[in-house]
Structure formats: C-alpha cells, structure tokens
C-alpha cells in the first residue's frame, strides 16, 4: 500500500504557528505524526484530520492535509459521516481524554462497535488542559484539581477497557516521548481496516506534569512498561543471569493474567502475546494489569482483528442495490410516479 510519493515530514507542516505551551507533549506527537505520514503512501489531499475541542484538538491546524477542528466530543461522529461517504479517504481523529471519554464517550464507543474506518488518536493527559486543569474521566481517584479541591471522587475509566467493552477491533497504547514506539503503533493502526483506537499518553506540563513520569524515567520505565509484540512473550524488566525474565505476564492457576517475577522463558504460565485473538477477553485481561498509577502499563497493540468495516458494508449495500436495479435515466421519474397514478 505504501507507494513512495516523495513526501517528507515538512510537507505535512502548515504555515500556522503551533500554539501549545512550551514543553507540551503534543509537540512530540505532532512531530511523530508528521514524520510518519510520508510512510502512509497516501497523497496529502486524501488525508483528513478531524478533531474535537481541547489542546490536543488543535492538531489539524498543524497538519497540511484537509482538516476540521469541530466541536467538543463530536469528532468521531463527524468523521463517521466523512469516512462512510468517502471511502477513498484516510480519515484520522485527534481527541483528548476529556473530548473522547467525557462528552464524546458515546460517539467513541459507537464508532468502535460499528468499526468505521478511522484512526483515532486519543491524547490522554489525564486532565482537561484547555479549560485550565479540571480532572478528566481518566484522572486518578483523589486527584486534587480546580474542580476537586478535596480530591476527585470519580473512579476513572481505563480507556482500553472501555474500547474493548465496545467491540473495538483495534486498540493500542503508546507514549508521546517514545517516537519510535509511537510511530510503530501508528503504522499498525494505519494498516488496520476499521476503527483503530490509539491511546497516547501525553504529558501536560502545565496542569498535570509528570503523569507518566515512571513510564519515562530510565530508572523505572523498564520495570513498569509491558511491551507487547505479537508472538512474543510478555516479558519485561531486566533479564536475569539464568535467562529468566525479571518480570513477565503469566496466567495464574485461576486463569487470570498477572505479573510475576523471575519467570523462565519456558514457563508454561508465560503469556505469549496474541494481538489477533478473536476473543477480546484476552486483550481485556491485559488492560486490567495496569494500576491507576500507571504501574504495569502494557504498551503496543492490545488487539487487532479483522472485521468488515462499516464504510465497506454500506458501500456494498449501495452497490448491490444499484446492481440489482440500476438507477437509469428514467429511474427518478418512475420513482416519483410510483405504482398508483391516474391521469387527467
């Protein structure tokens, strides 16, 4: 699919000044996406970025493609109409944790269940950035913010679990600062036909600085990130001298996925990642390994399975209808007349 069109990252930059706070994780994501775009092998004019409202949702202004900065929470719905009516386009949605999971939660889960052909980039900074720092549906319980001076009492969503509960065919997670990983996930997402949800952990250095610090700090990250690669064991942390994995995801006696230490490579309990498992129960179990403080965050593709896309199913119905009964030149006239006319 990826014809080399000779495009470069800079071709995807616009003349608009980027207006995020200095140090915001959005910059890194923007650079990674712009850097990845040429790989798509799709002409710029066939790409559309649709966003909602939020700091993250300013994204389309900076992408030299077609784009729409819409209203809060509605990007998946708008993109559904666009993608479904224009199957020739590559449609991307950029959204934030508030935009996607709070006001836009319903559109998100419905796009996922329908499997509309969209790539959704969910910038999760666990805060409302643009409105200056209220807790979001991804914020930790007890978080103190402008609107929760005594600590948030809202139990947060796990966005990956939400997506899997909503029949998602593709769910992945990555980190703003790890460009290589981010791009590898984008690659997988872009290849997926249907709705691909990519949760990107993004630092908001103004209102929620350091939310993902333990996943970034070189002292901790290897012990906290579970890197998922299809067909590979879910091992992480340092490898011991005896070849056993410092940490790994295993399936315990009760059948639950859990993290164990010092697991031998041949341990039967060791879980080999299967991103293509048809049953989402496996990916769901993976999503539950993470605790609220981001400890044991699986990163990479949780699930990627094939299912017909909504866009294609609709296009097929139109084709079938037209094939069966082509709308020739008289079609409109005979439709309007119907079966029971009389003439005066």
């Amino acid at each position: 699919m990826t014809a080399d069109l000779g495009l470069k990252a800079k071709d995807f930059k616009t003349d608009q000044e980027v207006r995020w706070c200095p140090g915001c994780g959005d910059y890194a994501i923007l650079a990674a996406v712009q850097g990845f775009m040429p790989e798509l092998g799709i002409p710029k004019e066939d790409i559309v970025f649709v966003s909602g409202i939020g700091c993250s949702s300013r994204f389309p202004y900076y992408m030299n493609t077609y784009g729409m900065h819409s209203i809060h929470g509605r990007a998946p719905a708008i993109a559904t109409g666009l993608s479904t009516s224009r199957t020739d386009l590559s449609v991307w949605v950029v959204t934030g944790d508030g935009d996607a999971l709070s006001i836009g939660g319903n559109h998100l889960i419905h796009a996922l269940r329908r499997n509309v052909n969209l790539t959704i980039l969910l910038f999760n900074n666990r805060i409302y950035g643009l409105t200056k720092g209220q807790y979001s549906p991804a914020s930790e319980l007890g978080k103190i913010t402008k609107s929760s001076p005594m600590g948030s009492i809202d139990n947060p969503f796990n966005p990956v679990s939400v997506a899997l509960g909503a029949e998602a065919t593709f769910v992945a997670r990555t980190l703003d600062s790890d460009r290589k990983h981010l791009q590898s996930v984008l690659r997988a997402a872009a290849e997926h036909k249907g709705t691909a949800l990519v949760e990107i952990y993004q630092n908001c250095n103004i209102f929620n600085d350091g939310a993902y610090e333990i996943l970034k700090d070189s002292d901790t990250r290897d012990d906290w990130i579970i890197r998922m690669e299809h067909g590979q064991p879910l091992s992480f942390g340092a490898t011991n001298d005896d070849g056993s994995f410092g940490k790994a995801v295993i399936r315990d006696e009760l059948g639950n996925l859990t993290v164990a230490e010092n697991v031998g490579p041949d341990d039967s309990r060791l879980v080999i990642h299967d991103a293509h498992a048809d049953n989402p129960a496996y990916a769901f179990a993976l999503s539950r390994l993470q605790s609220l403080d981001t400890r044991y965050s699986p990163m990479g593709v949780f699930r990627s399975v094939e299912r017909p896309t909504y866009d294609q199913l609709m296009a097929d119905q139109l084709d079938t209808a037209a094939a069966k009964n082509p709308a020739g030149p008289d079609a409109l006239a005979s439709l309007l007349a119907g079966a029971d006319t009389w003439t005066l």
């Binding site: 608009q16 077609y66 900065h69 709308a327």
Partner: protein, 631 residues
C-alpha cells in the same frame, strides 16, 4: 334489490378503532382507491403515542379521516359526514366531532356492559337515545367477518382481525370506489401469508357484498372525479414527498446523498423511505443520537455529499450546537424538522408549529440560518428542492420545517416532469483562488474568499490536490479562514454571515397574494401547514361575499424583500398559527405592524369553519371576537 345512487360533491369520512385494529391501513387503502378514482382529497391520520394502547380504551383510539370531492379541496374537513366506529371507545372519542345528521356506522360487537363501563358509559348509547340526532347503522361487523371466514383455517382471533377489511369493503361499496387496487395490495402485502391474504380479501368482498345486499343502506353515493389541472397524479403523504424531493435533489445536483438521522416521531418515515433507495447512491446512517446524526451529516458535507439530517423538536434541540458549527464552517446542510406538539416530549403524534423560533434562534451566538416551510403534503417535494438550492448556492445550513399534520396527511400530487426540475449542479473548487491581490498568494487556496454575489465561500472537498485546508468553529480570519481573535475581524465575520443569509432574499421570486379583486382590507398571513385550513377559510369568507386576501410564506428567514410593502397595503394583518404567535413576533419586530396573532395549540389543525368565523369578525369589526379561536 337495485339501489339508488346519490350524487355528492364532497364527503368527509372518519374511521376509528383501537390502535391495533388497522385503522391507519384501512384509511390508507380507502384513500388510495379514492385517489385512483380521481377525486381531490386530503387526509388526516390521528393516533396515540402508544404502539398499541390497551384495547377498548379512549387513549387507545386511532382514527383516519379522509375528505374527497369533485373539486379541489384544501383540508381533510372540519367535521366528518360519516364515522365508522369499530368499538365503544372509538364512538365516544369521536362523537363530539360529528355534526347532527351525520352517518354513524358502528360495530356493535364490543358493546358489552363491561366495555361500556370501562369508558364511563352506564348504558348503551345505541339504544339509550344518545345517538338520536344521527343516522345510526349498528352492525355486527365483527360477527359478519367471522361468519364470512367460517370456512377458513384461521383462528377466531385471527379471523376477527379482518373486520377492518369488511368495513373497507362496505365503504368501498357505499362510495363506489374501485377495488382492484386494494385487492392487489392485499395480495402483495401478505404474499408470504396466503391464508391471511385470502381472509382479508374474503372479508373485503363480504363487506362490499353486504352493502349491496342489505336493506340497511338504501343508497350508495357517488362523488365525481375532480377536474384538477391535467397531468398525472398520485396520492402522496408529506413525508414521502419530502423524501422524494431529497432524492430528486440528489439527482439534480449530481451529489451523493447522505442522511444522518436518529428515529423520532413523526420524522422517522423519511429515514425509512430514504433507506430504501440505495440504488440512487443514497446513504442513510441511523446514528446513536441526534447529535451524531447531524455530526455525521456535517462530516459528509465536508466530503462533498448533499447532507441532510431529519428530526422533530426534541431532537432538533439537541442539534443546536452542531448547527452553530455548520454556520461557522459555511457548509451546505439540510436540517429538517417535522414538528410535533411540545414542549419537551409533548404530544409526539400530534401536530404543532412551535419550533419556528427554535429554528431561528436555537443556538449560541449570532448564527443565522435560512428557514423555509412546506405548506401541504405534495408541497414538501418542492420545499425540499428549494431548501437544497439554498444550501448548495449559499453554502449554509438550511432549516426546512414541516409538521405532523402534512407529514402524515396525504393529497393528490401532480407527478412532476423530471425534465422540468431545476438544475442544482454544484461546482466544487478545483484550483487555488489566491491571485496575489485578493488576500492570498498566487497558488494559495483561500477557503473563505467569497463569491461577491452570493457571499458563498468555495467548497473544496478532500481529494482535491492543492486545496488542502482546515476549517473549524473558532472565529476565522476573512478569506484565509485561519483562527483569528481580532476584534474587527470578528465583527466583520459576524455581519458577513448575517449578510449572506439576508442576501438570499434577492434570489426569491415575488410573493403572490391571493386577493382576487385586489381590494381586500384584511390580509391573512400564514406559514407551513396552516395553508390548507386558511385557504379553505378564505374560500368560505369569500363565498359569504366578504373580501379577504391570503398570503402564505415559504420563506421565513430571510423574509422576501417585497413582504414589507405587501403588509403595508392592508389595514389588518391576521396571522393564524398553531403556536403562541411565533411568526407574528418576527413580523411585528421587523415591520412594526400590529399584526393580530390568532393561535391554537391543540395538536390538531385549525378548523376552516372557525378560521372563517374569526376572519369574518376581523373584517367586520377589526378585531377577533370568536370564542372558538384563541388569540
């Protein structure tokens, strides 16, 4: 026994029964027969919000009224000449509307003490004198149906279900209707259930034969075909005509059609209808809610589709924010509101005109949107095409208002010659429009560079190389469309968007006032579905020798340029509306005339009689002084 045939010029029939009794279907069929016969007609279905309200209750009564005539008519009639009541509740619920001397055909099957008591009747009205002033035909319709189907395999219960067809057969005989259509319809509808088809046909024929044979009916009637303008006609409901208008507009604009909708009464049928016509390149998206419905439509509009969203009041209320975005994006988008009784859930299956101000103002900021209204079932077709014309030409969302009355009501419709339909072809932008002097460099694309005539912006759809651009809901700089917080630019853009909508008035044809002698002093001004009742009222007024002028608005925003002059010509302007005076407010504000607002909010269309009385009193006394119409 040979029976005499009486000639009538018009008849109004209402059939009423439980909502499970198939009254709507019966009415439809009778209407179709009548249409085929060539009468002019108008229909009025009226049913409860419940799917099948409990049998035998007043709340569960469903009715269908049809008015047909040998001349052109405008409404389904104020008061029925004939009522067919399938049970006591149907009789009780409708009796109040029946004029003295009317014919009542009553299925006596359910007139048991218990059933009567259930609806608060202590004795049998058929025998206790209640119906003395009517021509009553108490008949065992159900029993006769069962008898006719004795030899069928059907259970008693299933057989009894055909009683509506028996009644239809009887009516068909009474009014000399052609029956082939109904027979063919039944065959087709129950193609998979031949025993049901057979039972219905048997019952229908039995009813017809009963009329011919029984002594209960001494005469049958004939209403000659109407001499309408020559052409090919069909019967059509407003929602069907509206759907056809959209399909036609898709063909005429050569754009793929995209409907984003969430079901809601009484708009759902447009979704249902369009979903059948995929072969015309029509996509229907049943969204998760109204916001997604309009959102998806807007997305499709960005992609170059003819985008539509349909709903009714409560759903429209949810779309306000997205309509604002569409105003800001300046993309074509049809917003169709089939109004129903409000506020809130209100009266979902009843009609009302109370969303006009919501259409005008129901969103944040200065967000002007053209508003037009359809005036009759068949007119919904033309209204749809006009709405599309405005949306495509001016790159703007457009509100099209219809309501439950004309959406479900039907009338004969002259099938348009498709070659006469307007050309709605759109030119997408294909080239950069910057020329180095107009705010853009040569080779640059300015998404908000406007057409000087229409003030419309260009429509460049994704896939067009070199025109990549971004649009959004934040205020944007003139021409470039980039985000701009500049105060003067904002003021300019707000006024420009308003000027664009106001400028549509230039494209409107002159208004045509119906003022036969040109010397009336009272003008009755209306919009939407009051067209029929007002028109019928005007005829009555004129028949009585008085003068009255009628003007009905298709365009409410902007008002046509000549409206002010016309209003100024009359001493009094009367505005009847099925709301508390919404158009009246707009007219008063703009033209500073003391328009008389006459309102009814009963979930039902005005009665022509009452309007006529009201208008007569205005003509005679300068004021409304009839009790039957609120003002």
């Amino acid at each position: 026994m040979a029976k005499s045939v009486e000639q009538l010029d018009r008849v109004v029939i209402r059939i009423a029964g439980d909502s499970g009794d198939g009254m709507q279907l019966t009415g439809d069929r009778f209407t179709q027969e009548t249409a085929m016969f060539g009468n002019d007609l108008a229909t009025f279905p009226n049913f409860p919000a419940e799917i099948r309200a409990p049998q035998g209750t007043l709340a569960g009564v469903s009715s269908f009224q049809v008015h047909f005539a040998d001349h052109d008519i405008l409404t389904p009639g104020d008061r029925p000449d004939v009522l067919v009541a399938m049970n006591p509740a149907a009789l009780k619920a409708n009796l109040g509307d029946m004029p003295k001397g009317a014919i009542l055909i009553i299925d006596t099957h359910d007139f048991t003490d218990r059933a009567l008591a259930r609806i608060g009747w202590n004795s049998n009205p058929i025998t206790d004198g209640t119906l003395d002033s009517f021509q009553v035909h108490p008949l065992e319709l159900t029993q006769m149906t069962l008898d006719a189907l004795e030899s069928s395999e059907l259970s008693r219960k299933d057989a009894g279900r055909s009683k509506n067809m028996f009644a239809l057969g009887l009516l068909s005989w009474m009014y000399s209707r052609p029956t082939e259509g109904t027979l063919a319809f039944v065959e087709k509808k129950f193609a998979n259930k031949p025993d049901i088809a057979a039972a219905n046909i048997t019952a229908f024929k039995a009813g017809y034969a009963f009329g011919e044979t029984t002594e209960a009916f001494a005469v049958s009637y004939e209403v000659k075909p109407a001499a309408l303008a020559s052409g090919t006609y069909r019967n059509i409901t407003g929602n069907l005509a509206l759907a056809y208008g959209l399909i036609a507009a898709g063909q005429q604009s050569k754009l793929p059609v995209f409907l984003g909708a969430y079901p809601i009464t009484p708009a759902s049928d447009i979704l249902h209808e369009l979903s059948k016509h995929k072969r015309f390149g029509i996509r229907t998206f049943q969204a998760e809610d109204e916001i997604a419905g309009i959102g998806a439509a807007l997305g499709a509009a960005f992609g170059g589709s003819l985008a539509i969203t349909t709903s009714s009041g409560p759903g429209i209320a949810l779309k306000g924010e997205t309509i604002g975005l569409a105003v800001s994006l300046e993309l074509p988008l049809l917003i169709i509101d089939i109004q129903r009784g409000g506020p809130s859930t209100g009266l979902p299956t009843k009609t009302e005109q109370s969303d006009l101000l919501q259409a005008m103002f129901g969103r944040n900021g200065e967000a002007p949107v053209p508003v037009i209204a359809a005036q009759s079932p068949g007119d919904c077709f033309d209204a749809a095409i006009e709405a599309v014309r405005m949306a495509l030409t001016y790159r703007t969302p457009v509100f099209l208002l219809s309501d439950g009355y004309i959406a479900n009501g039907s009338e004969p419709w002259q099938v348009p010659d498709v070659t006469t339909l307007p050309d709605l072809t759109v030119e997408f932008a294909t080239e950069p429009n910057g020329d180095g002097t107009n705010g853009g460099k040569v080779g640059e694309y300015l998404p908000y560079l406007r057409d000087p005539q229409t003030l419309a912006r260009p429509w460049a759809v994704p896939g067009t190389a070199g025109l990549e651009h971004r649009v959004g809901g934040i205020e944007k700089a003139d021409k470039t469309g980039n985000i701009s917080y500049d105060p003067d630019n904002h003021d300019f853009m707000v006024r420009t968007r308003q000027a664009k909508i106001d400028g549509i008035a230039k494209s409107l044809p002159p208004l045509v006032v119906d003022d036969p002698d040109g010397d009336a002093s009272v003008l009755v001004l209306g919009w939407g579905s009051t067209y029929g009742p007002i028109g019928a009222a005007c005829r009555q007024v004129r028949t009585s020798g008085a003068k009255i002028a009628q003007l009905h608005l298709r365009h409410i925003n902007p008002f046509p340029d000549d409206l002010g002059d016309i209003l100024a010509r009359y001493e009094k302007v009367v505005i009847p509306e099925m709301n508390l005076g919404q158009l009246a407010m707009l007219i008063r504000a703009k033209y500073l005339i003391d328009a008389i607002s006459v309102t009814q909010v009963r979930g039902l269309p005005f009665k022509a009689d009452e309007l006529a009385d009201m208008l007569t009193s205005v003509i005679n006394t300068g004021a409304v002084n009839t009790e039957s119409v609120n003002s």
